[in-house]
């Protein structure tokens, strides 16, 4: 098997799995779960292999495939790995088997459709990360909504239909404006180069007037900012998270939200660098507002899922701060923070799902002293809490620390030149860490400590973690500590791409860009 085909196989494994799924009888959910598990585990193995083979310090794409798809429009099936998407692909593949394993007992209705949708989602998410052709990117980006719409709408909570419609309509509105920008880019390429193309590399070469860039960036940025989500476009997130089944929440927090930040990193800023420089004050301000406001909201929630949902708003604010600092450390930190948040928030949602399965309540006030009732559960919950706070040796620390370091690193010289806002914003962002500790410790204290109580505890139905649940959590915690203790290989493999991104966006307005 050639190396590029390994990447194609990685992408299409869920499709193959989905086709096999169709052959299985509806009455055998065990077979359906087993098959999905098998496919996604194979995918993870392949992703790890690709990660190991990925060469650090090299610009451009590796494991590249490019074949014409819609020849008349210059659309190609063009995928490849680079430093920007490598870790996110790994994260997506890592969470896949955990999501399926986590749903063994919680999803009992329409099992076949559920696993089909998870596989469909996995395919579209990986496709979005891997696409190197704008048309292909958009197809995957938008197609991703379909399985998520069904997952929230079919297996969600009481207000699932409201939540899933809100999710779909909110994100689709952003996509429509992005589509307008994509169509505009398509015919600009045709008029400037004389040949149609959607290759992202070709789009980098376009010469676009600054006002046009601003409008196009606005179209892309709105779509990405909704997905991240950045305040004030975040209102769909708590509803979607609260109503989604555990698996939906995990995928949503773990991977889907990263689509937004990845979009800025891969397309938004590099495609329109002049506009990006102009928009930096606005986006950076919104990022810091998201950090603080998200944390503040998390502090006053009583629904456990909402606390974690708002904490996502806050944590992804750091990612945006890192990306807009345009410093090497900040960008690398942002990438690490994306992966870290995927693991930590994904893990927390899994744990909320586990307690919900036992007690059928997400109300913080209903719980207390779980440390005595469920010791193993509490240990893992505490570990994830510490990672969410960003304690050293966890992945959260690596990400947030690098982001803040990068932000200050970039802000100081600007401050000396008389531009003070980045420094001020970076200082405010530090506040988010304190708030983060506050809301996470509040959650942990009220959940784990104090008078032991929980719904249905008298019924004697409260069992501690099963071996299946323990293995899921061990995998997550191991990954979190691995990134926290040994971030070096990750940083090395993303360094070149981060340098290229930084150089491209930061070149003075109007000059030729690399």
């Amino acid at each position: 098997m050639s190396e590029a085909n390994a990447l194609n196989l990685l992408l299409f494994l869920p499709v193959i799995g989905g086709a096999l799924l169709l052959l299985l009888p509806e009455r055998r959910p065990d077979l359906v779960r087993g098959l999905s598990m098998l496919v996604l585990t194979a995918q993870l193995a392949l992703a790890v292999w690709l990660y190991v083979q990925f060469e650090a310090g090299v610009s451009g794409l590796q494991f590249e495939t490019r074949i014409p798809w819609i020849a008349a429009w210059g659309v190609h099936y063009h995928i490849g790995l680079d430093g920007l998407n490598l870790l996110l692909v790994l994260l997506t593949a890592f969470l896949g088997p955990l999501v399926v394993a986590g749903a063994f007992t919680s999803i009992t209705r329409d099992v076949k459709l559920f696993h089909g949708m998870v596989l469909f989602l996995q395919f579209t998410m990986l496709g979005t990360f891997l696409a190197q052709d704008l048309f292909l990117f958009y197809v995957f980006w938008e197609a991703m909504l379909i399985p998520m719409f069904l997952i929230i709408g079919i297996w969600g909570g009481e207000r699932r239909i409201y939540a899933t419609l809100k999710f779909f309509l909110y994100t689709a509105f952003g996509s429509i404006l992005m589509l307008a920008a994509v169509v505009y880019l398509a015919f600009t390429v045709l008029s400037q180069d004389g040949a149609p193309s959607f290759a992202i590399a070709d789009l980098h070469l376009l010469e676009l007037a600054v006002p046009v860039q601003v409008l196009l960036l606005a179209g892309f940025a709105l779509s990405f900012a909704i997905k991240v989500p950045m305040v004030p476009l975040h209102t769909w997130l708590p509803d979607a998270h609260v109503e989604a089944p555990t698996a939906g929440s995990v995928i949503l927090a773990g991977v889907l939200l990263k689509m937004g930040t990845y979009g800025f990193l891969k397309l938004g800023f590099p495609l329109f660098p002049d506009a990006a420089q102009l928009a930096t004050p606005l986006i950076m301000t919104l990022a810091v507002v998201s950090i603080v406001y998200g944390a503040g909201l998390a502090l006053v929630q009583d629904d456990i899922k909402k606390i974690i949902a708002y904490s996502s708003v806050s944590h992804l604010g750091y990612v945006m701060l890192g990306l807009t600092s345009f410093s090497l450390l900040g960008v690398q930190g942002a990438i690490i923070q994306m992966v870290s948040h995927g693991l930590v928030a994904g893990g927390l949602f899994l744990m909320v799902g586990m307690i919900y399965e036992r007690c059928h309540s997400r109300d913080l006030a209903a719980y207390g002293g779980l440390a005595k009732l469920l010791p193993a559960y509490s240990v893992f919950f505490m570990l994830l809490t510490l990672a969410a706070i960003g304690l050293p040796t966890t992945s959260g620390f690596t990400g947030e620390f690098l982001v803040l370091l990068g932000a200050f690193h970039a802000a100081w010289p600007l401050h000396e030149q008389g531009v003070t806002y980045p420094l001020a914003l970076a200082s405010v962002a530090v506040l988010g860490i304190v708030l983060g500790a506050l809301y996470m410790l509040r959650l942990a204290r009220r959940l784990l400590f104090g008078e032991p109580r929980a719904p249905e505890v008298e019924a004697g139905r409260l069992r501690d973690l099963s071996p299946r649940e323990v293995s899921i959590l061990i995998a997550l915690v191991a990954a979190i500590f691995y990134i926290g203790l040994f971030p070096d290989p990750f940083l090395q493999k993303t360094e070149q791409a981060a340098i290229d991104y930084q150089e491209r966006v930061l070149a003075p307005v109007g000059e030729d860009r690399p």
């Binding site: 020849a71 459709l113 197809v139 709408g153 899933t164 307008a180 505009y184």
Partner: protein, 460 residues
């Protein structure tokens, strides 16, 4: 005297005519009702093969110079229309419609072909009438319901208004340019003369009425609802396709003048907005499809703003995709008493009763909403790219935002099918073998166009 080359050039038409006559003779000679499916399918298949073969060999002919001509593009369009009518006939069989249905459909198709091949305004008018007259009868064919007669009446009267406007426009064209050919009309398109402008607007409005563009759309919801499923399918696919393709050909290589551009920007945009908004409130599936077809007619008219060389191809691709998705959705509607199966709430929990049908309808709805990876997305992209390339950037952006309004109504159908429980005693049953075949054919076609749109786009 038979004009030279007529036999070959109009072979698909001859075969259709042969089919109609055969059905008629069988009906007359046989004492009991006979299944019309086989002869009708044979005629359509033979006509499709002949059209495709002629297109393949690059056949160009003008048996009636200035009135009737064929070239590979037209022949391909005819073959596609014939292909789309196969599921329609299968659906008719599913409903146990007798040979009148098959005869009328073939006759109407004959009219569609005259429209596509017509080189003069007279021939075009003739084609539209041959297309429409059987339709009025087809709508009333579902005589089991009293509102069918009312809807058919409405359709007939409004259709008559359209015809009158078209004739008026044609005569003004004659007055302004002294000709009745398509070239004369294209001359009028580019002209500043007040008479010519009036002529153009009248003709275009007549077409808008046939295509159900706001504010000439009022007949469509009633007619779609009153007709039986196969007739609704026929109206939503082949009629719409024939009208728009004929209009694209009528415009030819001419640029539209400013008056016409204003009409062709404002009314289609209104159609998209109103069609989508009104569709949200519908409780019946066919009315929903009707309002959605009003919105889609808006996209199609926007495509006509495009550069002359792009128009026909864009419209052709769009109508094929649109027709296929509609056929797919209508073929999957569960059977039951007509008014029961039409209620949207009747679709509740369909996934648990008939997973295949639910998934097929979901695919059709998402494609109509223009969500990738389904072909409706490529079609939408193509239309808006064509519009933007012609310099109407703002129109394209407004149109795209208006298209956003349509997403909810299609999601609502999916929500009913997948997210609400099935009633304890559902009033509808699974579809039979003929509808299932029609659905499977449409689904395969949708899948192929969705995954490899390049095959078709490359040929345009």
């Amino acid at each position: 005297m038979i004009p030279e080359g007529l036999l070959l050039a109009a072979l698909p038409e001859h075969l259709l005519l042969l089919g109609i006559l055969t059905l008629l003779v069988i009906d007359l000679l046989s004492s009991r009702a006979r299944d019309p499916l086989l002869p009708a399918l044979l005629a359509v298949a033979a006509a499709a093969v002949s059209a495709a073969w002629l297109a393949w060999t690059g056949h160009v002919a003008t048996p009636f110079p200035g009135h009737f001509s064929v070239d590979p593009e037209i022949l391909t369009a005819k073959a596609v229309l014939l292909g789309l009518s196969v599921p329609v006939l299968l659906l008719g069989r599913e409903e146990r419609l007798d040979s009148r249905f098959a005869m009328l459909v073939l006759a109407s198709l004959y009219g569609a072909f005259l429209m596509l091949s017509g080189d003069s305004l007279i021939m075009l008018f003739f084609g539209i009438e041959v297309l429409s007259l059987p339709l009025y009868a087809l709508v009333v064919l579902a005589y089991r319901r009293p509102q069918s007669a009312e809807a058919a009446m409405k359709y007939l009267v409004l259709g008559g208004v359209g015809t009158a406007m078209l004739l008026m426009g044609i005569s003004l064209t004659l007055g302004a340019t002294g000709g009745l050919t398509l070239e004369a009309f294209q001359q009028a398109l580019a002209s500043d003369d007040i008479l010519a402008r009036g002529a153009v607007v009248l003709v275009v409005v007549a077409f808008m009425l046939k295509a159900a563009i706001v504010p000439f759309h009022a007949w469509a919801p009633d007619a779609y609802e009153a007709a039986t499923i196969p007739v609704t399918a026929y109206m939503a696919t082949i009629v719409k396709a024939a009208v728009l393709l004929a209009l694209a050909r009528l415009f030819g290589g001419a640029e539209a003048g400013p008056t016409l551009v204003a009409v062709m920007v404002v009314l289609p945009l209104l159609s998209i907005v109103w069609g989508n908004l009104a569709a949200m409130r519908q409780q019946g599936f066919r009315r929903l499809i009707a309002y959605s077809s009003i919105a889609h007619a808006g996209y199609l008219f926007l495509a006509l703003l495009g550069a002359p060389e792009d128009r026909f191809g864009t419209v052709a691709f769009y109508v094929v995709v649109y027709g296929l998705t509609n056929l797919l959705a209508l073929a999957c509607l569960p059977t039951g008493q007509d008014w029961l199966r039409d209620r949207l709430v009747g679709l509740k929990g369909l996934y648990h009763r008939d997973a295949r049908a639910a998934i097929f309808i979901a695919v059709a709805m998402l494609s109509l909403a223009g969500i990738p990876p389904f072909p409706g997305f490529v079609a939408k992209f193509l239309v808006f790219r064509t519009v933007m390339e012609a310099g109407f950037v703002a129109v394209a952006v407004v149109g795209l935002i208006a298209s956003y309004l349509g997403i909810y109504l299609y999601l609502r159908v999916i929500q009913y099918m997948f997210m609400t429980p099935s009633p304890a005693h559902p009033a509808t049953r699974r579809t039979g073998a003929f509808a299932a075949t029609a659905a499977a054919l449409a689904f395969i076609a949708v899948l192929v166009v969705g995954v490899f749109p390049g095959w078709i786009l490359g040929g345009l």
